[in-house]
Structures are given as C-alpha cells and as structure tokens.
Amino acid sequence: MKAVRWSIPLAIFIILVAFLWVGLWRDPREVPSPLIGKPAPSFALTELHQPSQTLTNSDLKGKVWLLNVWASWCVSCREEHPLLMRLAASKVVPIYGLEYKDDPGAGRAWLAQNGDPYTASIVDRDGRVGIDYGVYGVPETFVVDKQGVIRYKQIGPLSLEALQQKILPLVRELDK
C-alpha cells in the first residue's frame, strides 16, 4: 500500500517530464503539412527567365523534382543558397524555384548575384500558388515524385543534415 502511495505521483511526474522533454526539442514553427502524400497542387506560371513561357506541374510528370520556394527579400534563403548550388552542381535532382511574392526583376538580379541553382524558376507574384502549397515560411522545399505526389516538405532553410539524411535518400528511393 505504501508503495502505491509514492509510485503514483512518481509515475505522473515521469510522464510529465517525458512530455516536457520531448516538447523541448520540437519546433512549434514546423507545422506538419497535410499535403504530404497528396498530389502537388497544379500551377501554370510564367518562367522567370523567359516570361513568354509558362511552366505547369504536368510538364514535370515522370521525374522526381524539388520545388524550392524563395524570394529576393528572404533573408534565410541566403543561408541555404550555397547548399542549393552544390545540389544543383551534383545534378542529382532538378530544382525548380518558386519565386514567391517578389518582383521578377529583383529575383533575376538576386540570382545573377548569388548564382542560379534552378532548372527553371517560376514567378508567383501574388502568392496564390504559395497558398495552394501551404507556404507560410520562406524558404520551403518540397520533394515531388514521378507521379506528381508531394513526398516531403522542408520548412525553413535546408540544412546539410536534412539534405543528407532525408532528402537525398528519398530522392534516390523515388528515382528507382
């Protein structure tokens, strides 16, 4: 009976500590996207470098691709940019840029200055496609498979860790 008396509060305490401990390492800004496992929302947007051309998501069917949401006003995009450049140079997977709520001129100047890792960039001037993709914190990166289904979403700048442990293995798996 004595054992019950102190073991119950102890058990409650341990459970509480476990919850709080897990909570310490979770980022409340990372809201799991409901789009994972769903077809990538369709778009038809003009290309940044060739404004006369339109790119649609059906043009990308049949290959694995990344959609990287960026903007010239986005500060943390600078942080991930060197990684994107390296990824582009490795030619493992094509990266498509979604220039989000930005002036195309400013976007082109930004890419000219920092390098252009994108197979193509498309301009989402008013952010409507961004809303369809549930974008709320630029930069964001989506992995889309051959069937056009979103398989992964990175919120915030890419890290070497995320790239090596999640994105590249996933791309390899999907490429098979």
Partner: protein
Amino acid sequence: MDVPSADAVLDARLKRLETELRCLVCQNQTLADSNADLAEDLRREVRALAVEGKSDAEIKAYLVARYGDFVLYNPPIKSTTWLLWGGPFALLMGGGVLWWIVLRRRAARPQVAAASNASDEARAREILEEAEPPVSAK
C-alpha cells in the same frame, strides 16, 4: 428602418470567421488580428471564397487542406486529438475517484479518541496553566 447592407453582413461574417483561424506566421494571433503579409493574403483569399458563395465550413476546409488543422483555433475531435479534448475530463474524473477513495478510507479509520475522561481533562488543564500563568491585573 436601418437594414445592414450586404457588404456589412459579409464583413461581419468574415470578421467572425477570421477570429477562428490562426495566422501561420505569428502563431498566436488570429487571422483577424495579424498584420503579417500572409495573413493579409489569406484574408483576401477568404473574402474571395465568401464572395463566391462558399460556406464557412467550405472556407475552413480550404485552409485545412493547405495548412492542416493547425489553422483552426477550434481543433476538430478526431483520433489524433482525443487526448487533447478528453484529457482534462479524464484528469477531472481521476481526481474525483482519488478524492472519493481518500474520503472513504478516512471515514473507515477509527476516530481519534477525544479526551476520554475527567481526570485526563483536569491534567490537561493543569499543564496549560503551568505553561501560561493567567495574567494578573496590576
């Protein structure tokens, strides 16, 4: 008579709807309160959907499809949220049961005997007086 215009009715409806939706950027603000760029865009989107004749439920479904249940300040009851909704009631019931057990056990325990006889009482009074001599008037 003062009939509110269709616009005023729509405004009031949107105002109420926006207080039930969360701004993803500044997470503890509603869509109505937030000045974030995205909140502005989402308000515009919500208004456009309302003008199209979409119901509140349809507008919420539109946002949930893109941003998840997190946009709702009032999360739906489903398998992943039963702990959230049921937890407080479970704790309340657990506390109630514990309280009932403690009360029952206390009632079952024999009462502490009060001063049982006159001699004990006299002895007690004696001790008290020794410790604290009555204050005498000067």
